[in-house]
Amino acid sequence: MSQDPPCTGACSGETAPDPSRRTVVQFLAAGAAVASTGCSLESFFRKSFRELSPAQVRRYIAELEGRYGRKYGKTVTVGTAGPMEGVKFGYGLDLSRCVGCRRCVYACAEENNQSRKNPQIHWIRVLEMDKARGVDVNHSDIYYDAAEVPRPGHFYMPVQCQQCDDPPCVKTCPVGATWKEKDGIVAIDYDWCIGCRCCMAACPTEPGTSTGPSRTSPPPK
């Protein structure tokens, strides 16, 4: 694939601008784009999170805390704790206990501060299945609307990110915005993500679908 630099709008003349001037023009065009989106020059040119030095991480975190604090009128703390030595996280679910009440779905949205509407982001979906069919995802329903659960003849399976050992979402990401930590957690650098949704297509359990829309949709009005 060719790696031509993006057009800056400065190339409409008959003669091509000399390379040094072109670089300056590109820089200014990028600066104008930054100004129009309201993000700082440093955050626009920021490296991916894993390449930042400790000092850059501290500056970046302070910037985020300031930004969120101003937005929500609260003191906000952003943590950067890494994986712990000798710890590996796993994911467990006892299907025989789940009654399909969706309390976990809404608790997750609150805990992780996901968008509540337009778009509504749910990182957990609860599948309702027929006992007669057994585990048959193709015939499951996530939109069941019952007065009471569990409904007779049905069982329920909450599905969320499985923190895969060999995650397809990480393998497919063209820019390396996702990675697996040593403690088993699959992480994403939202500011490095370009919103291409390849991870959504690659994820076998669908919760990956939540990462694309939350990134690419405009903030609620």
């Binding site: 710890v87 009654v99 659960v149």
Partner: protein, 46 residues
Amino acid sequence: MHGKRVGQWNGERTYLLCVHCHNPHSPRFKPIKPLPPPQRPSEMKR
């Protein structure tokens, strides 16, 4: 498996026995109203 653990996985935690939450004479979970279904993509506005 019986009972429930609450608190921190690597800190202070509390073990609850079945009868902390269940009536021992009728231990089954009672039916409960589920929270609303998720919005369908067609219902979401940009």
